[in-house]
């Protein structure tokens, strides 16, 4: 290890295509679950906002889900989904994303002032019209704050999937460790950070575009 530099640049140059493939694989494994989580969180959040009784038990369940160790969950799923399949990694990531997004969706829907709601009703908006043109847009800054947390954690968590055979860039960590060759590990860390940063910037841009009125971000729970 003494004469091995932390980064051997020629290795990176030689493996650009390979790194690109891993990056693409990683993006799919990490981000598709966030998208599915969002699609589930919006209707669930609506149901919770309408029936507050539903919210407390659901949020307790998802609190526990969020506490589950990713590696442990991947492992427990293997007998059902198989080793080294995308589903083994993506199913838990979907639940983690949902656990982050559900509270932010509910917070966002609750953030609409009653006066605004009543004004919309007074202007003749039906419940559906009011929901799609007033309440959901008002929740957008919250949703995007939640998406930022969910996406970045998902990108980082997906790499643990390498230990069960499907982790995108996480494979570089296993590979580098087994060969005591730090270059792939460094490349993996940097690429994961870059991917996370890119997605985060994209989401900030989306907020500017979709919710220009939200100057200060709110509801970015940890």
């Amino acid at each position: 290890m003494d004469d091995e530099p932390i980064v051997r640049w020629y290795w990176i140059g030689d493996h650009l295509g390979y790194l690109g493939n891993l990056l693409a694989d990683h993006a799919v494994i990490a981000l598709l679950p966030v998208l599915i989580g969002l699609l589930l969180a919006v209707p669930l959040g609506l149901a919770c906002a309408r029936f507050p009784r539903l919210y407390q038990p659901l949020s307790a369940v998802f609190n526990i889900v969020y506490a589950l160790p990713s590696l442990a969950v991947f492992v427990v799923l293997i007998p059902y989904t198989g080793l080294a399949t995308q589903a083994t990694v993506m199913i838990p990531l979907t639940f983690y994303a949902l656990a982050v997004l559900l509270p932010t969706t509910v917070d966002g829907l609750h953030a609409v002032p009653d006066s605004v709601r009543q004004a919309a009703t007074a202007m003749g908006y039906g419940p559906w019209h009011r929901l799609t043109t007033v309440e959901l847009p008002a929740a957008v800054p919250y949703l995007i704050a939640g998406l930022r947390v969910a996406a970045v954690s998902s990108i980082s968590l997906a790499s643990v999937g390498a230990l069960v055979g499907r982790g995108g860039l996480g494979y570089l960590f296993v590979d580098g460790f087994q060969r005591t060759f730090p270059t792939p590990i460094v490349a993996g860390i940097v690429l994961i950070a870059v991917l996370a940063l890119a997605v985060d910037l994209l989401l900030v841009g989306a907020r500017r575009l979709l919710a220009p009125w939200a100057v200060r971000e709110k509801g970015a729970g940890s």
């Binding site: 160790p69 590696l71 492992v75 994961i192 950070a193 985060d200």
Partner: protein, 225 residues
Amino acid sequence: MNWLNWLSDFFSAPDHRSGPDSIVHRVSEHLLLSGEALLYAALLAVPLGLLIGYTGRGVTAVTALAGAARALPTLGLVTLAVLLAGVGDTAVLIPLVALAAPPLLVAAVEGVRGTDPDVRDAARGIGLTHPQVLWQVCLPSSAPTLLAGFRTATVQVIATATVAAYVGLGGLGRYVIDGLATRQYAVTVGGALLVVLLAVGAQLFFTLLARFALPPGVRAQRRAR
């Protein structure tokens, strides 16, 4: 029903009852490693966070830093640290501290900044010095936020310490990794279940602590909100 068989296999195996691979020993290794990481993270992050929150300087930097830290893959940090520093507790402690420090830092900053400014002014008005205000007013009033930060950090560290086994260290990850390597799902699933139980237990512990151990004044305030 193979689930139940696996678990009974796991819990009744003689190796898991006593000796270095026993469940008690692995759980205590796991808790010790997690506790050590949390201690260092707290010593690092809480004083810094209190100071930043009190002076209001560098809050934006802290928020940005905490967001960026979330993107750091622990598995990558652990493997890199082992290659650079050799197998040992340090190699795992560095990534775990890096994982635990950001939520603690953010919680300390947010907690102090969330203190009612009127209360801070009043404390200054009755003649408390700045360190006294920070220690006697801001710290107690930020206790709920700090506790929530500790809960997040603890749960994450307990969950992630599992990865330590991949580079040859102890803890409950041993069961998960060794079971995978030898294709003994009973061992893997048993280890995973124990980690889940520990994490959920930690979560419950902090929830109860927030309910019963907070300063009475702070508790009343939270109820009123």
